[in-house]
């Protein structure tokens, strides 16, 4: 009896191993393919076989030397600058807003929260033309500052998850501190924030990654200023039909280089990501 149970378990585990292995391969194959292509020697966009016949490191070198039209190093720096600034501003902003809604009680709290929720339901880029002209009125189009402002401005509306997280921090802590004479300002900075590492890291992580992936807004704001492009717009431009014959392999190399730091960051921080999401979102 026990033996057959063990056998059955082994068989079922074996099947699961097989399925998981196959799935993992499927999930990784595209990534393997792009790494492979980034080292390909044959210049054309498509080849009619799978494994490249010649290998080269040239595509990476050209990414950093052939910067006349496609200035990859500049894009990288642009995105990094935007990411860091956005990440600082929006983290502070999100935490402030979510703390307010979670902990402070004031007259129009519910109303403001509802407005926030309603705003989130409009398709985001519906507003892009108006945003463009506002920025133009401030003489900020085609600049990184514009991106930082717009990304950080929208961030506050994403208070939902971190509010959920703050809701789980016991209220008794605040009350005890209030009795000890702490102001709400002190409670926020000295008591709640230090306890909320997962959600802080989560917010930092998501707002850091956002500028690396946003495409539409950056494209509209930057227009023809190729030197001001962020990674996403630049790489997209590389595979546009005007450029693809010249830049496809560099695109692959560029994509690999973008993915590496973000993947490393993400893998290192995924624990916090999970804690943040499950702590905040799931409970709602």
């Amino acid at each position: 009896m026990i033996k057959s149970y063990k056998l059955r378990r082994n068989i079922s585990n074996g099947i699961i191993y097989a399925i998981l292995t196959i799935l993992s391969i499927i999930w990784l194959l595209p990534l393997v393919w792009i790494v492979m292509t980034s080292f390909r020697g044959e210049q054309q966009v498509y080849i009619n076989y799978i494994i490249p016949k010649t290998w080269t490191f040239d595509n990476y070198v050209r990414l950093f030397t052939d910067t006349g039209i496609m200035n990859y190093p500049k894009w990288f720096m642009n995105t990094l600058i935007v990411s860091i600034c956005t990440c600082v501003i929006s983290t502070i902003s999100v935490l402030m807003v979510s703390y307010t809604f979670s902990r402070l009680r004031f007259k129009s709290r519910k109303a403001i929260m509802n407005v926030g929720m309603i705003l989130g339901m409009f398709p985001g880029f519906m507003t892009m033309i108006a945003v463009y002209y506002l920025l133009k009125a401030m003489n900020l189009t085609r600049s990184l500052v514009a991106l930082i402002i717009v990304y950080s401005a929208a961030a506050a509306l994403g208070y939902f998850i971190s509010k959920g997280f703050f809701d789980t921090v016991p209220r008794a802590l605040d009350e005890a501190a209030t009795i000890d004479g702490a102001t709400k300002n002190q409670i926020f900075w000295k008591i709640i924030l230090p306890m909320s590492k997962p959600i802080v890291v989560y917010t930092v992580l998501t707002s850091f990654i956002a500028p690396w992936t946003d495409f539409i807004l950056a494209r509209i704001i930057m227009g023809d200023a190729i030197d001001q492009y962020t990674m996403a717009v630049g790489l997209w431009k590389m595979v546009d039909k005007d450029f693809i014959d010249r830049f496809f392999l560099q695109f692959c190399a560029g994509a690999v280089l973008v993915a590496i730091p973000i993947t490393a960051l993400f893998l290192k921080m995924q624990k916090f990501y999970v804690e943040g999401v499950t702590g905040g979102a799931v409970k709602g």
């Binding site: 054309q44 966009v45 498509y46 080849i47 009619n48 463009y132 023809d224 039909k241 005007d242």
Partner: protein
Amino acid sequence: MFSKSKKVVGTVLAAVMIASAFAGCAPSGDSSSVASGSESAAPSATEIKAITIDEAMKDADVALGEEGKDSEVTLKVWAPSDAVDMFTKQCKAFTDNFKDRKISIEVVAQGEADAASALMNDPDAAADVFGFASDHASKLYPDKYVAKVRLNYAAAIKETNLQGAIDVATYKTETDDQPYMYSYPETGDNGYVMFYNKSLISAEEMGSMESIMKVCNDKDKNLVINMNNGFYSCIVPLTGEGTYSLDESRHQLLNYDYAKIGPVATAFSKLLANDSHYVNDDVDKVLASALKNETALAGVVGTWKTKAIKNALGDNYAACKLPTINVDGTDTQIKSMYGYKLVGINSKSKFPMTSQTLAYYLTSEACQKERITELGWGPSISTLVDSDAVKNDVALSAMYEQQKYSVPQTGLAGSFWDPTGAFGGYIVNKDKDLSDAGIKKAYDNMVENITAQ
């Protein structure tokens, strides 16, 4: 005569400029007083004297007015990515010519296909001088997103350029008393031809669609034509002798006759839909690769891809006009759309004089000639079209050969492209209803969508 009175003319011109500046309006254009010498200060339109580019380049006052004397002129030029280096070089030659003026020119990569919409989205941030394809003329001219060409430049251009190029550059807006030129003709080759691998198929076999498909099947190679894109798939209605135009509110009018277009559509459909050696794909992206891999032996693509395809095919590189197709028993030459590339001046440019002369220079004979050999761009200047440089270029000579069987790409609204592309994709898709009734319905749908208000 001109060189004698040059000094005087220059002074008068400068005086006029200053006067008009004092009168409160920007010195926005040229002065036809150039023509009448020193006495007359009130010229009329009939007295416009042509200024050739050489004359303009010799006299900064004529060419640039006051611009760049006291403050720096900064211009932005849009050029397609392949041509950025070339344009940078040519712009440098331009600024070097006017050493005593402070001019700095920045050349930015911007595809001609998107230039018009990029300009319209934000004219203030757009280039001063930019290249665009002639089908966007109907968007740019009526609302004057581009400025008129200086009248005495226009007079000279009209004498040297192909008539077709001048036609697409000329327009009469609601407020104009007569047609004016609104852009500088840049190329005469904005169209497509058949590129092929001459080691796999001979020039005679390239003569008809039927023989091409036969060779494809014999050798197990593909033919690539993008029927999903209206720019290419309009060969169907055009071969059926369709034409198009715009009404006064810029809605598309079609002069299509299904009795003629229907059989052409059926012929394409019968020949291609069920043949696995015909590939309907985005040629701009795949053709160079497919020819290089030798999965394809021929394909139709615009001449802007010449460079990439030349690289891909090497010694086997060849090009010819589009083939014939057998419609109801008669071999009919496939007709195509044929456009020009034009250079426009942003009407909001802060330096209209310099922009005008720069555009004039960039489209001049010398610059066009340089671009034939370096970029393979076909010229719009008649004498260059007959030059050896063009005759020696396979793609260009095929282009000018195809031009005889083509409809000019002008008088098109934005609504033309997608429905035409959808129709093209329909007739070569074997999963669709390709009976006569099915094609008729798809055709009606296309016409309805194009002409919908």
